[in-house]
Structure formats: C-alpha cells, structure tokens
C-alpha cells in the first residue's frame, strides 16, 4: 500500500462519485473541496450570480490561492453548473490536472456499468500519464480496503450518532473527507444530550458549514439520518474487495444511493427518503437546499408531496453560502415546536 502522508501531493475532488481509491492508489491524498464561508466575490468573474454558492464558493477558494497545495482537481459529471465549472477550472488553472470522470446518468441502464468501467480506465490512464505514475491492481485493492475501513467506521459512528451532537457529526464527516483513510478522529466521549428528543432527517446536496447543526443542538433536535453527498451517501455502499478493482469501483458507483443528478428509477429518491424516515423513526424532514441547485429543487415538489401523503412534516430551508443564523433559527424553532405539539 502506498505510504500517504498529509505532506504528499493532494488532489482535490468535488463530489463523492469521484473514486478516491484511484487517486490514493496513484500516491495522492484525495481531499474533498468544500467552499469557504466568505462571499465568493472572486468567482464573479467566471460564474453568474444565478449559479449555486457551492460552485462559486469552491472556485473562489482556488482563486484566493487557498488550494495551492493541490496537484489537480477531479470532477464527475453531475449537474449543469459543475459541468461548466470543470471547464472554467481547466481554463483558469491550465498547469493543473483538471479531469472530469463523465459518469453515466442512467444508472438503471444495463449498459451503464460497462461504460463506466471504460471511463474509469480512461481516467486512470490520464492520471498515470499526467503524473508519470503507475496505478497497479494491488495498490488499488489496498486502497479499496483502506477506504472500505473508513466507510465502515463512519457507518458505525452514524449508528451511534444519537450520542453525539449535530456539530460533532458535522465535524467528523467533514474532517474525514480531507484526511488519509486510516485517520479518523472520533469525538472522545459521548456527550450527554438530554434535550435530544426530536429526530430529523436532513436532505440536500452538501452541508458546507455548521450553522444548522449548531441551531439543532441549541434547540435540542437530533439528526437521525441524512442524504448529503458529504454525509451518509459517502459511505452508503462498500466496494467489493475481490475481483477486478476498477469493475468493483464501478459496481459501487451504480449501486450507491443516487444523487438527484442521476436516474436509478423514477421514484428512487422518494422511496429512499420515506425509508430513511421510517427506519429511523424520524419526526420530520428538513430540506437543506442551496439556492440555484437545480437537481434538488426539481426533487422537492415530488418529495414534499410524498411526505405530505405519509403525513410527515417537512421544512424547506433555502440557503446561500452561510445559512442566516437568526432567520434559520426562527424557522427551525417554529418547525420543532410544531413537531412537539
């Protein structure tokens, strides 16, 4: 297994459809790029104000020189904005490796997997060529084992998340995604969270900053499940540790809980969300949506209708870069009061 230290070259990625294992097996530390919390004014020269704060925020960090330790950035094909951002990134940072793994959209197609295997091999070859490295099957298998171990550890942590605060949950997840797989910092001791009575399911693309978790902690609500890209969807499925490693990675990509940019079945996400609510006996659902995020905005009306049919209460929070503390708190508080009434 290649020795990875944080001092080793890092490659950034923007979506959990990027197989970290391939980057890791090539000798890099894969780190998830998350937007900063200052207004992304530098990105205004490249992206319109009607694109999402995630895309603008990530680009802004790079333009501010805060990602100068990255040897490359890897995208996958998801939404229209990220598709555009990938080309912009390539234009602005021509010296970096900027690659997009053009993942399939129709995950239910019987041909998607074969295509994805070929695309992952193309990407691996591009990586090898750019950095003059070799990605061997043995190294890939070792990396798969390392990331599976981390996914298992995160799943275990999630199973015990009732013991932890929402802020701890947020910190564990976001720290893990920037560290080597064998490093996982867990909160030392479970805290007493006496007020945690109301259980919530959180839905959205990514959760980038801890305003909402902090509010939930303050108001005594627990996050019992989520569907974030940098949340439960990250460790949702493991990679097979035998067989061809690239094929195993492709199988996992297809089998994972799908992002709304992808199509598994017409009502895949509706059924998944209802299952999360039932399995975790949640009292309500919070949609934590970014303004201008089309795929999640599209999924909102059918999801909201399905929750209404099941008489499950829900709240839509639409945020820009940082959730406005006062307003968010007032709305969440009213929602929790309604749930406990």
């Amino acid at each position: 297994m290649p020795q990875i230290h944080t001092s080793h070259p890092k490659i950034g990625y923007l979506c959990t459809y990027v197989p970290e294992e391939i980057l890791h097996a090539a000798g890099f530390l894969p780190v998830r790029i998350m937007p900063g919390t200052t207004p992304p004014t530098r990105a205004d020269a490249h992206l319109q104000s009607y694109t999402c704060c995630f895309a603008r925020g990530c680009l802004d960090l790079a333009l501010a020189g805060k990602l100068n330790d990255l040897a490359g950035v890897v995208f996958t094909h998801t939404c229209d904005t990220m598709q555009g951002l990938a080309d912009i990134w390539r234009e602005v940072f021509p010296h970096l490796l900027v690659e997009t793994i053009v993942t399939p959209v129709t995950l239910n197609s019987p041909h998607a997997q074969k295509y994805l295997v070929a695309e992952l091999r193309r990407f691996t070859a591009a990586l090898e060529k750019h950095f003059d490295v070799r990605v061997t099957d043995d190294a890939l298998r070792a990396s798969i084992r390392a990331y599976n171990a981390r996914r298992r550890a995160l799943a275990d942590f999630y199973a015990r998340r009732a013991e932890f605060s929402a802020v701890e949950w947020f910190n564990v997840m976001n720290t893990a995604l920037t560290r080597p797989p064998e490093e996982l910092e867990m909160p030392q001791a479970a805290i007493e969270n006496q007020k945690s009575k109301i259980g919530l399911v959180l839905l959205g693309a990514t959760i980038d900053e801890p305003t909402l978790p902090q509010i939930l902690d303050d108001l005594g609500a627990r996050i019992v499940a989520d569907d974030f890209c940098n949340g439960a969807r990250y460790f949702d499925t493991l990679v097979a540790e035998d067989g061809d490693p690239i094929e195993a990675l492709a199988v996992r990509e297809i089998a994972r809980a799908a992002c709304p940019c992808k199509h598994r079945a017409l009502d895949h996400r509706i059924e998944r969300v209802l299952k999360l609510v039932r399995e975790h006996r949640a009292d309500g659902v919070i949609f934590y949506h970014k303004k201008f995020c089309d795929p999640h905005a599209w999924d909102y009306p059918p999801l909201a209708a399905a929750l209404d049919r099941e008489k499950i209460a829900h709240l839509l929070l639409e945020v820009e870069q940082v959730a406005p503390l006062g307003q968010t708190r007032v709305r969440v508080e009213a929602f929790l009061e309604m749930l406990s009434a």
């Binding site: 020269a45 490249h46 992206l47 319109q48 009607y50 694109t51 895309a55 094909h77 998801t78 939404c79 229209d80 904005t81 598709q83 555009g84 951002l85 990938a86 080309d87 912009i88 390539r90 234009e91 602005v92 997009t100 053009v102 399939p104 959209v105 129709t106 197609s109 019987p110 041909h111 998607a112 074969k114 295509y115 070929a118 695309e119 193309r122 709304p260 940019c261 199509h263 017409l266 009502d267 303004k291 201008f292 089309d294 795929p295 905005a297 599209w298 999924d299 909102y300 009306p301 059918p302 909201a304 209708a305 639409e318």
Partner: protein, 407 residues
C-alpha cells in the same frame, strides 16, 4: 408586442401555416400515431420511423414565451413548489400540465411516451421525470456523455454506450407501439433529416453576404421546423423555399435591415418574450445579427454513409451544448471570422445554466483571439418577469457607442 422593423420574409405565411398545422394535428388529428414528447436534441428520426407523432415541449416553451403566457404558467408551477430559479421552459411546461386552460392552444397533447436526451442539459432529465410522474407515461432516457475533450471528439466507449442505448430505445418504442422498425423507413427519415439540416446550414451560411439577408429573429423563427419537423417532407420543402428566397436576397443585395452598419453575433437562446422589442434596440444602430450559436445547433453534419445507429450516436453526442466551453469558444471564433462580425452579444440566460456557465471565459477567449468586443446581457429565454428593458437598453447603448467609436 413591438413590430419588427426590418424586412419580412415572403415565406413567413408558409412557416406560420406549417407550425399551426403541426400543433393542430398534434392536438386533434394524428390517426394511429401515439404522441411522443421529445427533447430538442433527441434522435427524432427513430421516433418518426416508428410512426409516432413527436411534439417538442421546449419549442412549446418558446411559443409560451413569445405569446406572453410564460409568466402565468410559471406561477402555476411555482405555487406547486417548483423553484422560480428553474428553467422557465420547464416551469411553464409544468404549469401547462397542471392548468391547461391558461396555456396557449389549450396545452400540448398528453404524451403516450416520453423521450429525453441529456445532450442539451440536465434539466430535461428532471423535467421529463416530472412529466412521467404526472402522466404516468413510460420514459426513455438517452444518456449522451458530455465531451470535455479539447478536440470535441467523444470517447470510443461513449459512442458504443450511446449506440447500444439507441438499440434499446428502438426496442422500447417497438414495445410501446407494437410495431417493428423498418430499416428502410429509418433510412428514408434520415435522408429527409439530412436534407433539411443541410438546407438550413446553407441558409445560415448565406448570411455571410454583405449586407446580410437575415437578422437574428429570422433565424430564431425559421429554426422551428428544423427542430419540430426534422425528418419530414414538409420540412425539406419549407427550407427549399426559404433557401430560394434568401438566395434571391443575396443575389440582389437585399438587406434584412434598412441599412446594415454593423454585423454582430448572438450567443444563447432567444429572448422570446421581447423578441422584436429587444432586437429593435440594435436595429436603431443599424446592427444586424448575421449569425448565432443557437440556431446552428440544428445545422450539425449528419452522415448518410455507414451504420445509421453509430452515425446517430455520434451526431447526437457531439451537439454543441454537449461540448466544453473551450470547443464552444473555438466555434465562436470561427463564426466571428467567417461571418466577419464587428462584435458579439451573449445572452446570460438565467434559465439555461449549461449554455450560460462559462460565457464570461468564452467572452475573454473570443475577444483575445479576434479583437472583437463582446457584450453580456442577463435575461431569461421565456420568463419576462426579471426583464428590465431600460437597463438593457442602456447597456446596448454603451456597447454600440463603443463600436461606433472604433469606426
């Protein structure tokens, strides 16, 4: 709506009749032909060869915009939870699904099948999912991997993937229609498609003439048949007549504008809700849009030789909206040079993120390489609610005065 202030085409009544007939037949008279909703970039040749009746919700969205019906239909969708930041074509379509009596022509006919192709955007996936839920109609999704490569060439595995899905699409439609695809019929439709596409490309190329025989709104209005009737005899006949008329204008040096002083390029979808009013601001300065990136989307090169399925896979995967900003910038530079324009105007279209994200960089690249200035105007292709005519006019004035100062 404002009137046009430039020369009207003699073929205009023919265009009007053709489209009216299409929408009336779609709604009331299509014996034995199931209705297929298709996206503008879908391989409609297969749909036609199986004798379905294709209708185009995007074209209908443009029609809603041009007829001033979009805002109300969008509000119907927004009241049902659809964000006002989503594509206005899609929002007005959702509005139409839920409240047809507010919709022009009483709305589109109910789909028997839905065919969506991701080569133009990600929105059409979600839009057609919504339509599939609403109507309970079967949905086929054609996944055309985006091309980030600088040479604009799809990977071999992408072509193989699209080709095998086209076989699946045929099987899907055969099952839905209980018909067998006759290869001969597919070839017939393909030939008609290729002929119309070639005629349309020739018409566009004729605008290289000085003065230009057409202005942008002519291109926008006359692209409707290439989108909605591609693969039919009527479509070919229409473009033959149009080509004759445009060729005659060129031969007699007939200008679209009263006087062509400036030649411009247009980028992105038309501003349908202020079509004449908006472009008249440029007519005031004698500025003619002689070419655009949008209507060229249906002037692709189609090949009659070889395996038709692989040919379709290649053609539909390579459409310009499935290409990187680098390739789109290169294509725009080619148009700037070949059409000898003085500048370009980019519509930063709130409704169309794949077309718009990257425009700032494209503008910089095109100006660096050609020396021609570019103006970016933010608007929406069909939702008029954020359109600020006074502010837009002021920006146009500044841009045109800059061009005048260049001499």
């Amino acid at each position: 709506m404002s009137e046009r202030r430039y020369k009207k085409l003699k073929t205009a009544p023919q265009l009007k009749t053709l489209l009216e007939r299409h929408y009336l037949a779609a709604k009331y008279f299509h014996p034995g032909k199931p209705i297929a909703w298709v996206t503008s970039g879908a391989p409609v040749e297969i749909v036609r060869a199986l004798d379905l009746f294709p209708v185009y919700p995007e074209n209908y969205g443009a029609l809603c915009g041009a007829r001033g019906a979009s805002a109300e239909l969008c509000q119907v969708a927004e009241a049902r939870g659809y964000s006002a930041d989503l594509c206005a074509y899609a929002r007005s379509s959702v509005g139409m699904m839920n409240d047809a009596k507010r919709a022009p022509l009483g709305g589109l006919p109910r789909p028997d099948v839905l065919i969506t192709c991701g080569n133009i955007c990600g929105t059409v996936l979600k839009w057609y999912e919504a339509a599939a839920r609403h109507y309970g109609a079967p949905l086929f999704i054609l996944d055309t991997p985006f091309i980030h490569a600088d040479d604009g060439e799809p990977t071999p595995h992408a072509i193989a993937y699209v080709a095998v899905q086209l076989d699946e699409m045929i099987a899907f439609l055969e099952k839905q229609t209980r018909r067998k695809l006759a290869r001969e019929k597919l070839f017939d439709v393909l030939r008609l498609s290729i002929e119309a596409v070639n005629l349309w490309r020739e018409v566009r190329e004729m605008c290289r003439a000085r003065p230009s025989p057409l202005n942008a709104p002519d291109l926008f209005l006359n692209m409707a048949p290439i989108v909605t009737l591609r693969g039919t005899k009527e479509c070919v006949e229409f473009y033959r007549a149009l080509k004759d008329e445009v060729a005659e204008r060129v031969a007699h040096k007939v200008s679209a504008l009263p006087e062509e002083k400036y030649r411009l390029l247009w980028d992105n979808i038309a501003i349908w809700h202020h079509l004449y009013k908006f472009y008249n601001h440029f007519v005031d300065y004698g500025a003619c849009f002689v070419v655009d990136t949008y209507t060229g989307g249906w002037a692709m090169r189609m090949n009659e030789q070889g395996d038709p399925i692989e040919g379709l896979a290649r053609t539909y995967t390579q459409v310009f909206l499935n290409q990187s900003l680098q390739v789109r910038a290169r294509d725009m530079i080619d148009l700037v040079q070949r059409f000898d324009v003085d500048g370009f105007v980019m519509h930063s279209n709130r409704s169309c993120k794949p077309y718009s994200a990257g425009q700032y960089d494209i503008r910089r690249i095109v100006t660096e390489q050609t020396g021609k200035p570019g103006l970016i105007i933010e608007a929406d292709h069909s939702d008029p609610r954020s359109y600020d005519d006074a502010a837009i006019r002021a920006r146009i004035q500044m841009f045109m005065e800059g061009l005048q100062a260049r001499g």
